[in-house]
């Protein structure tokens, strides 16, 4: 949900952000309100899209935590798929990959970090300042 902190930067850079889970719309709406989320929370109750992206939990009808970054042609350029619910891509890594794709279309896979949480707002500023 930390991506919400960066939503203004996503918008400013013309980058789309969509979240998908098996939650029905009413449940997703409660989460949207509880966390003040402004990006679309999409409902995939039968997990068809989750299966199409191969991020379904092996036993349960749930999504594994996963992030895909698509380029403007809709081609997957970066992905990180967690093995369990706490194994989630760092916001800073997602932003770095997205910026690299937005700017050049080229991106290296991000090595997996063990812990820590990226501070997204400052990360955007730092990464953008690199140009």
């Amino acid at each position: 949900m930390e991506l919400q902190e960066s939503i203004a930067d996503f918008d400013a850079n013309g980058i789309g952000l969509l979240a998908i889970s098996v939650d029905p719309p009413a449940t997703a709406a409660r989460m949207r309100d509880a966390h003040g989320l402004t990006y679309p929370l999409l409902s995939d109750p039968d997990a068809a899209t989750i299966v199409a992206y191969d991020v379904k939990h092996p036993l349960l009808r749930l999504a594994l935590p996963a992030v895909f970054v698509l380029d403007s042609q809709g081609v997957i350029r970066w992905e990180q798929i967690g093995a369990h619910k706490a194994d989630r891509a760092l916001t800073a890594d997602v932003i770095a990959a997205t910026l690299a794709i937005a700017e050049s279309g080229e991106v290296e896979p991000t090595p997996r970090a063990v812990s820590a949480t990226g501070k997204s707002a400052t990360t955007w500023a730092r990464l953008k300042g690199r140009d």
Binding site: I20, L42, T49, A52, D54, V69, D71, G74, I76
Partner: protein, 79 residues
């Protein structure tokens, strides 16, 4: 006592059938897990299209986001 005791041996068809049933279930479960990992969306692939409901009774298509980089976040949810 002998008249009510049930001896479970391999020669007993029920035991054999139960064991075979277990193997069958395990094989099917394995095949299912394998099948769900086939045809995966991977780097370099065109992202699979979708059309899903959002929280406001609207439909969102991935195609609506064509022309700009897009971040898709899958999360476990609370269902």
């Amino acid at each position: 006592m002998d008249s009510v005791s049930v001896s479970l041996t391999w020669e007993d068809t029920r035991v054999k059938e139960f064991a075979q049933g277990c193997v069958r279930v395990a094989v099917l479960a394995g095949a299912l897990v394998f099948a769900t990992s086939a045809g995966a969306a991977r780097i370099g692939d065109v992202a699979p299209a979708f059309e899903l409901s959002d929280t406001m009774d609207g439909l969102v298509r991935l195609a609506d986001y064509a022309g700009a980089p897009t971040v898709l976040v899958f999360y476990r949810g609370f269902f």
